[in-house]
């Protein structure tokens, strides 16, 4: 009998217990504490957390004080540079059907949008012409605004979208723009311009017969480097290399790997498939 008494609580007991826990009218306690006790404990935590927040903010403030607003303390994780392409919608498969404009218009629009900043008049207005073939080093105070070199859209010739506003997509000879990631103070190629080449990633080599590179045989001219950071180098526009795929196998997925070549460029790391190279697939339907 005694055991039964000691045994399992009924559901009603549990609910009653919960109720008393939530509000004990006898002791005027909510969840085991009186109003005063709750007040004290909340006050305590308020003070403790305010102190912690204050200390944290102070530490972050201190941290920010040690940082230069122009150059990050370390740049070892961001270099050597990665590579990206345009058009960029989602993913690295550029698939369209020449006879159906709706399949390639998004790519074309993306290109136009991206190249707006490279319009010749905008470039002429904001940026200066620089002597080609050498780094455009700008000495002086770190905080001084830096000049940027012109990179005109027209330099992309057949891929500029000026003569052919469809960038060759309407003829099955698409243009793709290749961009090297910006790194502050980085001088690619150590004096020799970095060039680009493209090849079939794997499979039948004959699928890719010819690629045209603009400007200047697919090199990034030295005058666009080094980059000084977005605070001082406001109008900087990344130099581009346009890849004009004039003869690619149609109605097939053609995996293409484009690599940067130059001293200091790393383009064969297995883990990072965008470091100094980029892999994308062309699928052009007729």
């Amino acid at each position: 009998k005694h055991k039964e008494k000691m045994g399992k609580k009924t559901l009603a007991d549990v609910i009653q217990e919960m109720k008393t826990f939530l509000w004990n009218s006898e002791k005027r306690e909510c969840m085991g504490r009186t109003a005063q006790s709750w007040g004290l404990i909340l006050l305590f935590y308020l003070i403790l957390y305010m102190f912690l927040a204050g200390m944290f903010s102070f530490c972050i403030y201190g941290l920010l004080l040690t940082l230069s607003p122009y150059t990050p303390t370390y740049r070892d994780r961001v270099s050597p540079p990665g590579v990206m392409i345009r058009p960029y919608l989602h993913g690295f498969t550029i698939a369209f059907n020449v006879s159906e404009p709706s399949t390639w218009t998004p790519y074309v629009n993306s290109m136009h949008h991206f190249l707006q900043a490279y319009d010749d008049n905008i470039q002429e207005e904001k940026n200066i012409e620089c002597p080609a073939g050498q780094y455009f080093v700008q000495d002086g105070a770190e905080s001084k605004e830096k000049k940027a070199c012109q990179f005109k859209r027209s330099q992309l010739q057949n891929c500029s979208g000026i003569e052919d506003p469809t960038f060759g997509y309407s003829t099955g000879q698409p243009c793709i723009l290749l961009k090297m990631n910006r790194i502050i103070g980085y001088r690619p190629g150590y004096g020799t311009p970095v060039s680009v080449n493209c090849a079939i990633q794997k499979g039948n080599e004959s699928a890719l017969k010819s690629v045209d590179f603009y400007p200047g045989n697919g090199t990034f001219d030295l005058m666009y480097y080094p980059y000084y950071g977005k605070l001082t180098h406001v109008n900087y526009t990344s130099p581009l290399v346009a890849l004009h795929f004039t003869d690619v196998k149609k109605n097939d997925f053609v995996p293409i790997q484009c690599r940067l070549n130059g001293e200091g460029i790393v383009n064969n790391v297995t883990n990072d498939r965008f470091l100094g190279r980029i892999i994308f697939t062309l699928s052009i339907g007729m």
Binding site: Y45, P72, Y74, V78, G82, G91, G229
Partner: protein, 969 residues
């Protein structure tokens, strides 16, 4: 006897004559229990979620899908490995007991088909005739039909240490009391070397139907209750699992309502579970317990069940057996009375001399009787063994007298040789005396010496004179009264009193060649000369009084439960302090005030001596009343069932009850107790099997050291858990902030596992070596329902104070690493989606630089490593502050526990290896870290220490204050 055929028939009907072993859980069930116990369920859920996420991601073609597969495998491995570890620990402690399982007599001499045959005892059946000789174990319950000099040792059954004679007479209704039944598994004794006892009897019960079988089944019927520490750990697991599940579900909902994909939300859920569950903790607890168990084994407490280590510490009532535990389990001469005066003898374990006045001639006469009128002998070849340790053939009283004489006179056997024995009448229950006649060693004295000992009143009847100071004086009324007073006094001490007398037979009547005949008793047995009294007791062990008083100051109530007589029990209880010197029982008060027992106010009596007969008529309420009202209780003449009732009564008071015992009769109570303690030397196998702990030296004092260790480990487990729980918040916060603020993930799931199962393991075990902060034996035992292992204060202080502090410190390191690489804190906020986009390979940082996905991931791992290192550094501070809960570190001493330093060094060494040694293994997500990042969280580590010192200072300064109540865990 039976025919073989008939025997086989009965055997088929009744089954073999063996005890059914208690049902044991199959090993595989035990193993599976470990696999689903504790946090395992949560981790299995985590692993399952991982695999589901993997399945979905692989279907969607996500590149990083395999991370989840691996994580799931790792989680499953963690569960399986910790399960195997716990199982192994459990099995190791169970194996200690494997050696104790043999208790059945192997062979029995049985009459079958009219011939004597040796058969295995298991084959015995009801109706078999068996023959037993001295030294044998009795093979079944048997009714004796022939017995000669047969004595049995029933101590394992009834707890009575005194051997009992057996004959074929039916003397009592109760089978336990009657003389013609001998019980299974008791021992038939060799009464003396000259007269081996023999007996023939008929088997009346076999196997489980025997008395011992019934007691054994009573024991196995008693349920195995959860140990207090198991309850505490369960409670703790519930708290942590509750926190994990509720935070997990809450943030799952938050994530879904913040428009995260369900799959992402599931992955968050996994992270939250892994961060919340202290994976290594249960293994740590097991290791800590087994370390304590090892330490206790060194102090003669062998722990069978690991969890029992702590149970002893929370014990609030010890129900102790008397014989062997509190006492030395050997009769020893305690007092002497001669020359009208009582002398005390030394009863300690290691006596080598006796210091009472031995100059009187009466003593010379008495010592002669003691030496000669004694059939006990030392077994040969023990000359170099201390007297008290020598093995003697003979019963307990005679052994006591023999050793007593040997200590004082030396070379008893030589004296006996010189005083050749001519005739002897051994002790028997009808005449209650023992007599022998000797030549004297004095060559000039041709008289014979007749010596006699026996029950004092019977001896006195046969005397007409009494020896005072060596002179024979007439035994007048005055002398007789003096004798009565002494006899009563010694009897009142619970001692067994023997009277001694002698007579020099006149030379003329009894010449050299006189033929003494013990059957016709052709010599005088009256008008003897009374010489003195000797009283004997099984004296308490010398260490016990101190141990009992230690128990008392530790708030533990010691109750004596014995099968012995109330008077003896009370006397021993008084001498060891179970009943303290100034306490009185109801009966004592009645006697002092000269009023009837009924009129005494029961509240006045602190002590109580309860007889088994009284207990039988008591209701539960009455028993409860006694247990509550009296602080000093002795139960005498109790049966096994009553022991069980007493234990249950104590447990009704919410007490944690320890029971000591050695006999088979104790096994039900041992099993029922929260912790059963069996005696290693005197204990029967049944008792050892039922117990949780074995006292290797049978010494009550060892229990006290056990209690101390148990209390210490409870305190230290608290510290271990507090230490381990703290960093869970530092592991959890990253996930919460990651979800809410959409920053790159500050710490990965794998990294968390490296903290929980890597850097934190050795330090948390090291806390088990911490010394006590104050005298833990001066406080009350913990209340099993109020003083929890993990209480609100502990959880809140660890989670919401130190845990948050740690998180802040670790986040500072995280932000530092990102900021110095070009990602300022404000850029990080809301960055998560782009950050984790595999196709987005030119994300701009705060400075306009562009990052590929892998470059970001690598930076993220640096963040993990920095976060990990910061937690480790702050855990060092956490470890140091957890050394004490109340005292300042300077009071406790930083160097007293060297293992802590081993822990700290291991922690840092493991972190260094992970960071710099394995930094190139991408699967582990560690990267070599710049040296300065190790020091970012250092100020917070110092803050943790300072903050905790302040907390402790206020607790010490203002005991009972709001601060104390809320901050002391």
């Amino acid at each position: 006897g039976l025919t073989s055929a008939r025997a086989a028939e009965i055997l088929a009907r009744d089954g073999p004559n063996a005890l059914t072993p208690p049902k044991s859980t199959p090993e595989i069930i035990k193993f599976l229990k470990q696999m689903v116990g504790g946090f395992s369920i949560l981790l299995w859920v985590g692993a399952l979620l991982c695999w589901i996420a993997f399945g979905i991601q692989i279907a969607q073609g996500v590149a990083s899908a395999f991370d989840n597969l691996y994580l799931g495998v790792v989680l499953a491995l963690v569960v399986i490995l910790t399960g195997i570890f716990a199982y192994y620990q459990e099995a190791k402690s169970t194996n200690i007991m494997a050696s104790f399982s043999k208790m059945i007599p192997q062979q029995a001499l049985v009459i079958r088909d009219g011939e004597k045959k040796e058969v295995p005892a298991e084959q015995l059946v009801v109706g078999d005739m068996v023959e037993i000789k001295g030294g044998d174990r009795i093979p079944a319950d048997i009714r004796l039909i022939f017995a000669q000099g047969c004595k049995v040792d029933n101590s394992s059954l009834t707890g009575e240490s005194e051997p009992q004679s057996r004959s074929c007479d039916f003397t009592h209704e109760n089978p336990l009391e009657t003389k013609n039944i001998a019980f299974y598994s008791t021992t038939c004794l060799e009464a003396s070397p000259f007269l081996p006892g023999t007996a023939t009897g008929m088997v009346i019960n076999t196997g489980d139907h025997t008395i011992i079988g019934r007691i054994a089944s009573l024991a196995s019927g008693v349920g195995n209750e959860k140990t207090p520490i198991a309850i505490e750990i369960e409670h703790f697991v519930h708290i942590v699992a509750g926190v994990a599940v509720s935070i997990g579900v809450l943030f799952f909902i938050i994530a879904v309502s913040m428009k995260y994909k369900v799959l992402d939300s599931i992955i968050f859920l996994i992270g939250i579970i892994v961060a919340n569950v202290p994976e290594g903790l249960l293994a740590t607890v097991t290791v800590s317990l087994s370390l304590t168990a090892k330490r206790m084994a060194k102090k003669n407490c062998l722990v069978k069940n690991l969890e029992a280590v702590e149970t002893l510490g929370s014990t609030s009532i010890i129900c102790s057996d008397k014989t062997g535990t509190l006492t030395q389990n050997r009769m020893t001469v305690a007092h002497l009375w001669f020359d009208d005066q009582i002398y005390s003898a030394d009863t300690s374990e290691e006596q080598t001399t006796q210091s009472f006045d031995q100059s009187s001639q009466s003593w010379a006469a008495l010592s002669k009787i003691v030496t000669l009128c004694n059939r006990a002998e030392f077994k040969p070849g023990q000359e170099n063994v201390p007297i008290m340790k020598r093995v003697v053939v003979g019963d307990a009283s005679e052994t006591a007298l023999l050793k007593f004489a040997e200590v004082i006179l030396g070379d008893v056997m030589g004296i006996r040789k010189r005083n050749r024995k001519l005739a002897e009448i051994p002790f028997n229950s009808t005449n209650k005396f023992q007599l022998s006649i000797h030549e004297t060693e004095d060559p000039n004295d041709k008289r014979f010496l007749l010596v006699m000992k026996g029950a004092p009143e019977r001896i006195l009847e046969r005397c007409s004179t009494i020896m005072i100071n060596g002179e024979e004086q007439p035994l007048d009324r005055e002398r007789a009264e003096a004798f009565q007073t002494a006899y009563m006094e010694l009897g009142g001490l619970g001692e067994r009193v023997l009277g001694f007398c002698h007579l020099y037979l006149p030379e003329d009547e009894f010449p050299d060649t006189y033929p003494f005949d013990t059957d016709s008793m052709n010599f005088p047995t009256s008008n003897l000369c009374f010489v003195g009294l000797l009283s004997m007791i099984d004296p308490p062990r010398s260490t016990v009084p101190d141990a009992v008083s230690k128990c008392r100051s530790a708030g533990i109530k010691v109750i004596m439960v014995t099968g012995d007589h109330p008077i003896t029990a009370k006397a021993i209880a008084k001498s060891v302090g179970i009943i303290s010197a100034n306490s009185e029982t109801v009966e004592d008060i009645a006697k002092r005030l000269n009023i009837p027992v009924e009129q005494v106010n029961k509240q006045d009596a602190r002590a109580a001596v309860i007889n088994g007969m009284e207990l039988k008529d008591m209701t539960t309420e009455q028993l409860d009343e006694i247990l509550i009202n009296h602080s000093e209780i002795v139960f005498a003449r109790t049966s096994p069932q009553q022991k069980l009732i007493i234990v249950e009564g104590c447990q009704r008071q919410d007490a944690v009850v320890a029971v000591t015992g050695d006999g088979v009769n104790d096994s039900p109570a041992l099993k029922k107790a929260d912790i059963g303690i069996a005696m290693g030397i005197a204990g029967s196998d049944a008792a050892k099997n039922a117990a949780d702990m074995i006292l290797l030296d049978d010494n009550f004092a060892s229990i006290v050291t056990g209690v101390e260790e148990g209390r210490l480990i409870f305190d230290n487990l608290k510290k271990t858990i507090a230490y381990t729980l703290t960093k869970n918040i530092a592991e959890l916060c990253p996930f919460l902030i990651y979800i809410i603020a959409s920053i790159p993930l500050p710490i990965g799931t794998i990294t968390i596992l490296f903290i929980d199962l890597g850097t934190d393991i050795i330090p948390s075990v090291a806390l088990a070596y911490e010394k006590a902060e104050s005298d833990i034996m001066n406080r009350r035992p913990r209340h099993k329902k109020k003083d929890r292992l993990v209480n609100e204060q502990l959880a809140v202080y660890s989670y919401l104070q130190i845990g948050i502090l740690q998180s802040v410190g670790a986040f500072l390191a995280y932000f530092t690493v990102y900021a110095e690489q070009g990602w300022l804190p404000n850029t990080l906020l809301g960055l998560r989606v782009s950050w984790e986009d595999d196709y987005y390979n030119d994300i701009e940082d705060s400075y306009g630089q562009e990052w590929t996905r892998y470059q970001r991931t690598y930076l993220q791992w640096s963040g993990y490593t920095a976060f990990f290192v910061s937690i480790t550094i702050q855990q060092v501070a956490d470890l140091i502050i957890r050394k004490t809960r109340r005292n300042s570190l300077f009071q406790q001493g930083l160097l007293r526990n060297k293992v802590i330093w081993v822990g700290i060094f291991s922690q840092i060494a493991i972190a260094l290896i992970l960071c710099y040694g394995l930094g190139s293994v991408t699967a582990l997500n560690f990267t070599p870290l710049r040296v300065q990042y190790w020091f970012v969280a250092m100020p917070y580590a110092i803050l943790i220490w300072v903050y905790d010192e302040i907390r402790k200072l206020f607790i010490r300064q203002y005991p009972g204050s709001w601060w104390d109540k809320n901050m002391y865990y």
